[in-house]
């Protein structure tokens, strides 16, 4: 009688352990998905801020229509982009146009001192940071998840239930140099 009870208990413990490991993998995988969509949220936030920026700058920068137009065009392209590669390239270009815009703003002291502009500059700095941190957070989640499914003993569960490793978000080679803005 006793050995039977012991066997049942062992099976129960192992079963609970397996469920716990499975649930933990699900939790980690969902975190990765969530972190990925966070990146999009921040990119969209940037899209929304740009019209206001352009309006504020227009009044002061009559001679810089080109710079402003490039920002608007890049923003529209980014909003229309489909798929990871296209979006990535478009968002990169948008970052570049914004950098150019702020470089130009430096030579317009009135605009630079404008309260609106100061606030907008802070918002856009913050937005660039948020995009970067969102990507960083995604990578952190991906690393934690990949570690979990590759290390023993969860790797067994991962294999049985087809948990697949996540890819890291890597800065494309072009991103690291200054992208030439082309339409």
């Amino acid at each position: 009688m006793a050995p039977l009870i012991i066997i049942v208990v062992i099976i129960a413990v192992v079963a609970i352990w397996i469920v716990a490991m499975f649930n933990s993998l699900i939790r980690l995988r969902n975190r990765v998905k969530n972190a990925w969509s966070q990146i999009d949220v921040q990119l969209k936030r940037r899209h929304d801020l740009i019209p206001n920026l352009v309006e504020t700058a227009k009044g002061y920068m009559a001679h810089e229509k080109d710079t402003l137009e490039r920002v608007v065009k890049a923003r529209n392209m980014a909003m229309d982009a489909q798929g990871v590669a296209e979006t990535s390239a478009a968002e990169n270009m948008l970052s570049q146009t914004l950098k150019s815009l702020f470089a130009v703003v430096e030579s317009y002291p009135d605009l630079k001192a404008n309260q609106n502009m100061i606030a907008l500059h802070e918002e856009l700095t913050s937005t660039e940071n948020r995009i970067a941190f969102a990507r960083q957070h995604y990578n952190d989640c991906a690393m934690t998840y990949n570690n979990a499914i590759q290390m023993f003993p969860k790797n067994i569960i991962a294999g049985i239930f087809h948990f697949v490793a996540s890819e890291f978000f890597e800065a494309e080679e072009e991103e690291k140099e200054n992208v030439e803005v082309k339409f």
Binding site: R31, E122, H137
Partner: protein
């Protein structure tokens, strides 16, 4: 994004060290309970006594701690004269914190500002959902954006690591030890004689040894416990620095901030001995403060903190 080497190892090591200290405290309580139990009760009642004493000691120490644990944030903010930070007029502060919530995945803590020109900051809250951070006006004025973000990241790391819970546990344990020793000191002065039912030959020697050990414990254990408490506090500060660096991937920002804060000579009005351990840099500054970095400090030496951060890149 730069690879911050050594960061993850540092984080694991600090976590291990701090839990090691907790284990030492628990063992101390066990030893005290056993020694006092046998001292007062001889062999017959020793074990029974030991368990009773341990439970009573921990219960009493817990009640005080539980109140502070649950009431924590609002009380501390009131005592520190902190006011909620308006999201419209304090845009940059809110942005910095929101950026850190994205980087860490934590919910956004409530933000407070202390109108004092001494630069400092602290965090409190029993878990990430009920957390709050306060910064002084001085901090916001004297630090640049990345330095300020480094400080915020450090504070959010305290929340991330459940440091308030950890500190509460340590406080309960230390409180138990101090309480048990106080009780026995009182009992040994006023209490009746030890039960003498177990007078076996050779028992007298063991009893004498136990009595001596008990006396030593009574005197040394409270000091020892407080040293452990301070050591644990220092470990958690290092841990918060390392986690903060991981959050921003910019250890230099925090290092620079620490340097600025530590060389500032202004005194933080609202800080006192009860709240000093919560701040990022100990706000109590005497003339000899910078020399007093020792076993009795709640915070590690600033130079060492800055060095560790700078070595991370």
């Amino acid at each position: 994004m730069p690879e911050v080497t050594g960061m993850y190892e540092l984080i694991s090591r600090n976590k291990r060290n701090s839990w090691l200290l907790v284990i030492i405290l628990v063992l101390t309580i066990v030893i005290i309970a056993i020694v006092f139990g046998y001292w007062r009760g001889g062999q017959q009642f020793g074990a029974q006594n030991a368990i009773t004493f341990a439970i009573i000691g921990i219960l009493f120490a817990s009640t005080g701690a539980l109140v502070s644990y649950f009431e924590g944030a609002s009380l501390i903010m009131a005592v520190s004269r902190a006011r909620p930070a308006d999201p419209d007029s304090e845009r940059q502060l809110h942005n910095l914190v929101e950026e850190m919530t994205i980087a860490s995945g934590l919910p956004k803590p409530k933000l407070y500002i202390i109108e004092d020109s001494a630069p400092n900051a602290f965090a409190c809250g029993r878990n990430p959902e009920n957390s709050a951070i306060a910064v002084t006006r001085g901090l916001m004025n004297k630090l640049n954006r990345e330095e300020l973000q480094g400080v915020i990241a450090h504070e959010m790391s305290h929340i991330l690591s459940y440091d308030i819970l950890f500190v509460t546990i340590v406080t309960v344990l230390v409180g138990s030890i101090v309480m048990l020793c106080d009780v026995f000191r009182w009992m040994s002065i006023f209490g009746g004689g030890r039960r003498r039912e177990n007078r076996r030959s050779g028992g007298g020697q063991i009893e004498a040894v136990i009595a001596i050990v008990a006396l030593l414990l009574m005197i040394l254990a409270p000091i020892f416990a407080q040293l452990i408490q301070l050591a644990a506090s220092r470990q958690r500060e290092y841990l918060a620095d390392a986690n903060g660096a991981k959050m921003t991937r910019n250890p230099k920002g925090l290092a620079s901030a620490l340097r600025k804060i530590s060389t500032d000579t202004e005194k933080l009005e609202a800080a006192n001995r009860g709240t000093q351990h919560l701040y990022i840099v100990n706000p109590l500054k005497g003339k000899a403060a910078s020399n007093k970095q020792s076993l009795f400090s709640t915070h590690p030496p600033i130079e060492e903190r800055i060095n560790r951060l700078e070595e991370m890149t």
